[in-house]
């Protein structure tokens, strides 16, 4: 551990709220830097979680952490890409999982579809096996000293416990723990906050043959109406529809009725694949999932993943941001701990700006897809193929962006958007 001879007794330099991907990836990267964090998770794992399709970049991070063999052993389906079906169910476009090689060439790669109950438990157990500690409990409030966060108060089975630390990481996902505590800026509504996702798992869904069996399928109906089809095992498939909340509430249907109804009429190609399905999970919903939090780092604290921002699930970027931000946060935490700068006004300013920058690039891509679907396809297939592939391959940070494609998107979006603050470069 870095801080051994300090006067204050900090058994853990870093305490992390949560035990999902953002928390476990942060822990795994901190451990690579020789820092052993304490994680506080309130749920008993395994527990259900949505967010099952990983991008290629997450596949790369899992390999970097030496986890490929374990994932293969769990027989998570291998994803080669995403097929997007147009509204008529006939025309499709294919987005392969790609990565850039060191020489800059784009090359095909693969990633995984994961059953999040197992995946999240596996990541957390791996972090523990490598030296992290997990406490089961509900993060209750922060400890503060002279304006800086210096620990966490947790409700555990034994009562309220205090865990002092030098840096508190918020990886509490949609619960946005630090925003609720008033430590960061407030949780502000995102562009897709009126959307609702309604989903379950089924057996009997018809997959593509051979190697393509593990791929994600996206079915488009009309603006803001779409559906996902994510193979989760040999037999089970995650199925979900996403629509404006109003469309659901005006239907007068229960979530179960609504899901079954949409699966029959959203897209003919989807309906054809679901003729003989059986539901294996309850029907669940996700709403109000689109938001962002400003000022999400500061003296003694830093947010990672959904705890500060989530836009929309259409392109499966959720776990990507959790994993990538975890890696960047761990490196920043290592430096801040080594320099003893955690109580300064803005110790993680650069990390925060980089996160906002990357999240904004993907927000622009998603907004552009919905506002200008034709121009988006034109770019993806013809005029800016490489640059769009770059976005999907995770090149969303300042070293590679804003590309000409993203600049064009921003220019066109400016016409339909209410004025927004510029993303921080």
């Amino acid at each position: 551990m870095i801080a051994e001879n300090r006067s204050l007794p900090f058994p853990h330099d870093v305490v992390i709220v949560g035990g999902g991907p953002a928390a476990s990836f942060t822990a795994l990267f901190l451990l690579q830097h020789g820092i052993r964090p304490l994680l506080v998770e309130r749920d008993s794992f395994p527990r259900f979680h949505i967010g099952e399709s990983l991008t290629g970049e997450v596949g790369g991070i899992l390999r970097e952490l030496g986890l490929e063999a374990d994932l293969a052993a769990r027989q998570f389906p291998i994803k080669h890409g995403v097929t997007v079906y147009g509204a008529n169910g006939i025309n499709t476009f294919w987005v392969p999982v790609m990565r850039r090689q060191h020489d800059g060439d784009l090359t095909s790669t693969t990633t995984w579809q994961v059953r999040r109950d197992e995946f999240d438990q596996f990541l957390l157990e791996t972090a523990v096996a490598r030296g992290a500690t997990v406490v089961k409990g509900d993060a209750d409030s922060v400890l503060r000293e002279e304006g800086a966060v210096c620990g966490l108060r947790v409700k555990t089975a034994e009562g309220l416990q205090e865990f002092p630390c030098r840096i508190l990481v918020d990886a509490s996902g949609q619960k946005t723990f630090l925003a609720n505590q008033g430590v960061t800026g407030p949780k502000e509504r995102g562009s897709y906050e009126k959307q609702v996702g309604i989903f379950s798992r089924v057996t009997g869904a018809v997959r593509d043959p051979g190697e393509a069996a593990g791929n994600t399928l996206i079915f488009y109906q009309e603006k803001h109406h779409w559906s996902w089809f994510i193979p989760l095992s040999e037999t089970e498939t995650s199925i979900g529809v996403v629509v404006p909340g109003e469309h659901f509430s005006q239907s007068g249907k229960s979530t179960e009725e609504f899901l079954e109804w949409k699966l029959r009429n959203l897209n003919p190609a989807l309906t054809a694949r679901l003729q003989h399905i059986e539901f294996t999970e309850p029907v669940r919903t996700a709403s109000n999932y689109s938001y962002h939090v400003r000022n999400f780092t500061g003296p003694g604290f830093v947010c990672v993943g959904d705890s500060h921002r989530f836009t929309d699930p259409i392109f499966s970027f959720g776990v990507f941001f959790s994993a990538n931000e975890a890696k960047m946060a761990a490196a920043a935490i290592r430096d801040v701990l080594a320099n003893g700068t955690e109580r300064e006004a803005d110790p993680f300013a650069e990390y925060e700006a980089t996160c906002d920058f990357g999240q904004q690039v993907i927000q622009d891509v998603i907004d552009f897809f919905w506002e200008y679907p034709l121009a988006f396809q034109m770019m993806a297939h013809k005029s800016h193929k490489g640059e769009i592939t770059d976005c999907f391959a995770g090149r969303v940070y300042p070293a590679h962006q804003p590309s000409e494609a993203v600049q064009t998107m921003r220019r066109m979006l400016a016409r339909v958007r209410t004025p927004q603050p510029e993303p921080v470069a």
């Binding site: 147009g86 509204a87 008529n88 006939i90 025309n91 499709t92 476009f93 200008y372 679907p373 034709l374 121009a375 396809q377 034109m378 770019m379 297939h381 013809k382 005029s383 064009t408 066109m412």
Partner: protein
């Protein structure tokens, strides 16, 4: 739109969607509403129009309104031709 353009556009449309029956398509046939052009076919159509007519269709013009029917596509092509070779009016 010139007659020459009309025919070239119809040819391009039928190459983008071979299922189109050219004898049944008139200037105002609603191509999108009748499912004769979807978004991917529009990408193909743009490529066909650019190579056969020498126009350059900028992304700003790749909007559904510009592909509603042959007349709209003709107006789009006219706007996107190099100015020195603008076609004569019909």
């Amino acid at each position: 739109m010139s007659t020459a353009h009309h025919l070239s556009i119809l040819d391009a449309l039928c190459r983008a969607n071979p299922a189109c029956d050219r004898t049944r398509i008139i200037e105002t046939t609603p191509l999108l509403d009748e499912g004769l052009l979807d978004s991917l076919q529009i990408v193909t159509l743009i490529g066909e129009l650019e190579s056969s007519l020498g126009c350059q269709i900028p992304l700003d013009e790749v909007l559904p309104d510009n592909f509603q029917h042959l007349t709209a596509i003709g107006a789009l092509v006219d706007r996107c031709l190099p100015t020195n070779s603008a076609p004569s009016a019909t």
